[in-house]
């Protein structure tokens, strides 16, 4: 059932060659004629108002075409008129670009310089003078934590999952045999994809806009720009076929996108804008700084009796970013008494956003650390403790799971890792003069599926074109979809082309929430099924057709031919079907969407991670030396791309655990480590052997293909597994990430 090696076939990435040979064209790389270059001028204060703009020097730089600010912006028609006197944006307002003189965070775009060349634009931007009236900013979470409150959007929505939640007796914690309470601090982190955010904006006519843009959803970018610029949707074309990583940073449209579109409008030329690394940390969102308090009660025989989980997340002063932080705690373990509270703290920072495993990565760091602390306290093996408290049904919704094989994940993970060699006392294991620690944690992520369409086209030569406005930010969407289509149609993958990342294609959700395979994969499946049915009908109509009376269930498709399953020699090729009917092509567009199954079953992906760390007892340096991860995500479509996704999640989790942190100096309300020398992500030397296993069984209730999302659970829980291993190695519990040397010395 578990697959240590890659079972065949695992299709190679269909765009792998393009990517590794540098011939895949990314957003900033379109060689458009007459292209101008834009560079942002961003605020140097965290709160205040712009009192003066002096662009004389900037404008005098040769090649400069325009310097645009709120004083001369062509304007975004979707914004309301500026009130007189101007007011700060009310909660729920996305940052309005070059709109008025208010500054909401350090790094906010306040002007954009457009020039013939990038060098000219950069130089001119450095000469732009902006004067501010500063107001006292608040960016320090701890200093302001007393102002945390229930989000306004939650107050207005009585059915919000972020409402205060109590299951059983909220006071049960007080009478627990054993009780522990701890506070966990999760720092601000940034996505840091290697490809920076980039856009080329082109106004084809006064009311037709084309952008080449790094984002995670062409349809949502299209809709957002259409409403901002009051254009019919179809007049906005978004092209994003290749994305160099995003991890959530491209889910929403950020101010620089609007700035580039405004700049192109102003100079009446295509305009390219690429964010520098420092603006990747200042002007697109982050995983929010979050503080969590968990109290956990257990009986002395190792049963959870009560959990209270309070989370406070940081957000901006103008928008509320909520994420799942405390939600996993309600569903993860069989515990009769569970209370959760979720609060937001508005600070003078850029609005946070979703980042891989949003909320759950944060919440499960706390919950899975707390579980480990309790297991230690109870002197029960941490894995055994989790098995004893396994939730056989969803304790939050009182529903059966659509499928859950977490216990098998535990078993196989433990076996492959050699968990039984773990001696329970901290500091009890050593190798080569180093302390060795074993840690583990569970992982989960909710199942998301959205309505999605796909078009399937059979051409006269028997080749297939599939189209959907889905995305590939890295997992290999086109590859997996090609494989689904190949299997359903019985056509060789090399005869299938899958188009994505283009807003003119059939509707599909953006790539987020681990929903692509399950949503778009289902659409591809049903579209191919419909195409095959249509082709069967056409084949049946041919003279002396061996398929004349065949039902769909009784036919098989293979190597571009269909035939009665009982009589493989009586086959007809797709090409011949089209040729006979003199059709240039046969096409279908189908939609797949979730149904009532959501109300009958509780749906999650589950998994677990086992981590070994080695710690130098003198210098306290921690290195992860081994990882085994197991995931239960239903049917695996492509082992190679799945495995890559799991490895990527583990790498991100190791970064989260040991090094990633956006450090802000609150005197200035500004991040200080805005380059890759200061913001550390793992390098090869940080990454050990990672073993990946899957329970490769279809979840028959979730969708037609039986697959669930993998992207998020790959990272959720990893940081806790590392922290737990560090505790086991050193006896030191670090509750504030990242676990750097200074916290261990």
């Amino acid at each position: 059932m578990f697959n240590a090696k890659l079972p065949e076939p695992s299709l190679d990435r269909v765009d792998g060659r393009l990517k590794v040979t540098g011939t895949a064209t990314y957003s900033a790389e379109y060689p458009l004629e007459n292209l101008a270059h834009a560079v942002l001028v961003t605020s140097t204060i965290a709160k205040g108002r712009i009192t003066g703009l002096d662009f004389k020097l900037a404008e005098s730089v040769p090649g400069v075409l325009a310097v645009i600010s709120h004083l001369n912006s062509p304007g975004v028609p979707g914004y309301p008129p500026v009130k007189q006197p101007a007011e700060r944006a009310p909660i729920g307002t996305a940052l309005r670009v070059f709109y008025d003189d208010f500054v909401y965070f350090s790094g906010q775009p306040v002007a954009v310089v457009v020039a013939q060349t990038l060098e000219q634009a950069r130089h001119a931007a450095s000469l732009a003078q902006v004067n501010y009236q500063t107001e006292k900013h608040q960016t320090d979470f701890e200093a302001n934590v007393s102002k945390a409150a229930v989000a306004l959007s939650v107050q207005r929505n009585k059915t919000s999952p972020f409402q205060d939640y109590d299951r059983g007796n909220p006071d049960a914690i007080k009478t627990a045999d054993v009780k522990l309470e701890s506070t966990y601090v999760f720092p601000t982190q940034h996505h840091q994809p290697l490809e920076p955010h980039a856009i080329i904006a082109v106004w084809e006519t006064d009311d037709k806009l084309t952008i080449y843009d790094k984002n995670q959803g062409v349809k949502s970018a299209q809709g957002n720009l259409a409403s901002a610029f009051k254009l019919p949707r179809e007049n906005v074309q978004v092209n994003s076929p290749f994305i160099g990583g995003a991890f959530g940073s491209g889910i929403r449209v950020w101010p620089h996108t609007i700035a580039a579109v405004l700049a192109a409008k102003k100079v009446k030329r295509p305009v390219k804008l690429v964010l520098g690394r420092e603006l990747m940390q200042m002007s697109v969102g982050s995983r929010p700084f979050t503080v969590q308090k968990i109290a956990i009660g257990a009986s002395s025989d190792g049963k959870l009796t009560a959990i209270t989980h309070e989370g406070i997340g940081q957000t901006s002063t103008y928008e509320e970013h909520l994420e799942r932080t405390i939600l996993a705690t309600r569903a993860m373990y069989a515990c009769p008494n569970v209370s959760t509270r979720y609060r937001l703290l508005n600070l003078d920072v850029n609005t946070p956003t979703w980042m891989r495993g949003p909320g759950d990565a944060t919440g499960m760091f706390a919950l899975e650390s707390a579980l480990d602390e309790m297991a230690h306290e109870l002197k029960i093996d941490p894995l055994e403790f989790r098995i004893r408290n396994h939730a056989d049904t969803d304790p939050e919704r009182n529903l059966p799971w659509s499928a859950k094989t977490l216990k098998e994940c535990y078993r196989t993970g433990a076996e492959r890792f050699g968990w039984d060699k773990r001696t329970s006392e901290p500091r009890s294991m050593q190798a080569n003069g180093l302390l060795v620690g074993y840690g583990m944690a569970s992982s989960l992520y909710g199942f998301h599926r959205h309505p999605s369409k796909a078009k399937a086209v059979m051409r006269t030569d028997g080749s297939v074109v599939m189209q959907s406005a889905t995305m590939d930010i890295g997992p290999g969407t086109g590859t997996a979809m090609t494989q689904i289509a190949a299997k359903m149609l019985g056509v060789s993958p090399n005869k299938i082309r899958f188009d994505l990342g283009d807003s003119s294609l059939p509707d599909a959700p953006g790539q987020n929430g681990s929903a692509t395979i399950t949503s778009v994969g289902s659409a591809v499946h049903v579209a191919c099924e419909a195409l095959k049915k249509k082709l069967l009908t056409l084949a049946a109509a041919m003279p002396n057709s061996p398929l004349a009376n065949s039902r769909f269930e009784d036919i098989t498709a293979k190597t571009g031919r269909i035939f009665p399953t009982a009589n493989p020699s009586a086959s007809i090729s797709y090409a011949d079907i089209l040729k006979y009917h003199q059709l240039p092509q046969v096409e279908v567009t189908e939609e797949s969407k979730p149904g009532p199954e959501r109300d009958q079953y509780s749906m999650y992906s589950f998994g677990c991670h086992f981590v070994e760390v080695q710690v130098n007892p003198l210098t306290d340096e921690v290195r992860v030396s081994r990882v085994v991860t197991c995931a239960d995500v239903g049917k695996i479509i492509n082992y190679k791309t799945a495995r890559s996704q799991s490895i990527g999640g583990i790498v991100g989790g190791i970064g989260m655990a040991l090094m990633e942190e956006s450090v802000m100096d609150h005197r200035f309300g500004r991040y200080i480590n805005t380059d890759f020398a200061g913001y550390h992500i793992p390098v090869h030397a940080d990454i050990p052997q990672i073993e990946v296993y899957y329970v490769d069984q279809p979840d028959v209730y979730v969708n037609p293909i039986g697959s669930k999302g993998l992207g998020e659970i790959a990272i959720v829980g990893v940081a806790a597994a590392v922290a737990n291993a560090v505790f086991h190695a050193t006896g030191k519990r670090v509750r504030q990430l990242p676990i750097t040397v200074d916290k261990l010395v």
């Binding site: 210098t619 306290d620 480590n673």
Partner: protein, 332 residues
Amino acid sequence: MKPFQYIRPTRLKDAIEAVASNPNARYIAGGTNLIDLMKRGIVSPEKLVDINGLPLKKIEKKTGFLRIGALALNSEVAQHRLVLENHPLLAQALNAGASGQLRNMATVGGNILQRTRCPYFYDPVFPCNKRKPGTGCGALEGINRTHAIFGLSENDPAQSCIAVHPSDFCVALSALDATVLVVGTKGERRIAFGDFHRLPGNSPDLDANLEKDELILAVEIPDAVFTKHVHYLKIRDRASYAFALVSVAAALDLENNRIKAARLALGGVAHKPWRLFEAEKALVGQPVSETTFQKAAELAMPSAKAFAHNAYKLKLVPNAIVQALKSAAALV
């Protein structure tokens, strides 16, 4: 980036004159630090004098010392036979620095003259006496996790600097008593490595005791006995490609399990590589043992002073010294 002139002279004299005659001219070699500084607006030279056309790449054994030309690449030096045979500590230190790509670009002279990695230095929004004297030290009351604990100015600290020198190579050069050979309009001179870099004092904008027109020609490392028991320990936030939180260059000469000679220098703790003369002295004549190393390490610490976020270095430094000495002595 401000527009600038660029020339690539092939004669030493022309290069020196080009820099001497223009107060805003700068030498450029590998550019691995200068280009970053220019992009971020930290320095804005009007003229770049590219010295890569000068014949300064040679690595050669002279009587009594090894000479490494200023334009020898970090990667070349780290794998050069003469370096590995005579001064393996240098190779270890070089390989601990930066990444393969950077070491293939970075030169010996540029490594020695690289600027600090203090984050306050790199963002013009923050005050920084090193970047703009008189604006204050951003790190002093700010985030100073990576900052200095030794060699701090005794005058008004707000007018000074608590940044650290980022080089690994220089820590090893310091331990090995290297000399820097420089040339300027006034001719050649040799500067002992310990005198080359400065403590911040009242002019933290100056990293080195070098005249503006002066150019490094070579570093010279005197013949030494430290070929076997050496170790460069670098403690950092990730396994590779990160600047040192603390680093230790340790070199021992051992006979019958006793220490005949010792060298110790620290990185990541001061405005310049920090040599530990007293600790070295205390090691000489002692048996190889963890106790010996611990005693020496303690001698390093009395002058240390920590700030809000770097107090961990007070504990980490002595432990790192012990670890480096243990590794050098192959004592497990």
